[in-house]
Amino acid sequence: MTTMTAQATQVYQLFIRATPEAIWEAITTPEFTIRYYHGARIENTPERHLGLGPNGEVWGDSPTLEWDPPRRLVHGWQSLYNPEFADEPSSRVTWEIEPQEGGYCLLTVTHDQLESSPKTAESVSGTGWMMVLSGLKTLLETGDVLDPDRA
């Protein structure tokens, strides 16, 4: 297998059978993120992106850059969850939710501006974002909390 440096721009895209509103709630509310986001309680507000670990330790604390519910959220990213690369420069995460036919949405997550943050880039690539996004999909499509009609 080829060795590689993690990419400075990473794009992840998937279909989720849920409304834009349900997806928006799942990515901005700690009660939901704790169930799929590596156990983090993440709260996104128009001002701030705050992520807390299980014992209240700060895993992420960055400004919100764009807030357009339920379609587009852009926030800063600093890897405070790992002291080894907590001091790397801030990068950027963009969430885009586009409704499709048949009750699906296309969710695109772009993590970029990672040029000067190689350890962060490595940490979120591979299974990093993938676990979060497949967990989010499973929660929204099979969880009974967000979609009481299908419970």
Partner: protein, 106 residues
């Protein structure tokens, strides 16, 4: 066609797998860059990229006047979870047990 069908169809071609490998090494490439590494016309490469885009294995982004191609690993992950994990789990677990047993007795 289901999403899975699109992904399997897209992967069932050596040129398209080669394009994915190139993007895995370095993401965010233009058509011109990708074309320069293949013995194929620009039109041919475009056709293959279109199939990869339809399967959402490649996502394009505009950057100024350029269209950049990014590898999207999620569909392959979902195929892996759905089709590979299920059939390999027991065998891999058995091998892991064997390894543990042999190393403990060694």
């Amino acid at each position: 066609m289901t999403d899975d069908d699109h992904v399997f169809k897209a992967l069932a071609d050596p040129t398209r797998r080669h394009l994915l490998d190139r993007l895995f090494e370095r993401d965010g490439r233009t058509l011109t860059e990708l074309e320069s590494e293949l013995e194929m016309t620009r039109f041919g490469v475009m056709k293959h990229l279109r199939v990869l885009e339809d399967a959402h294995l490649v996502v394009t982004r505009r950057s100024g006047r350029e269209k950049l191609h990014f590898l999207n690993p999620v569909p392959i992950r979902l195929i892996h979870d759905r089709w590979i994990d299920k059939y390999t789990e027991h065998r891999v677990a058995a091998l892991a047990d064997l390894k543990t047993e042999l190393e403990e007795t060694a």
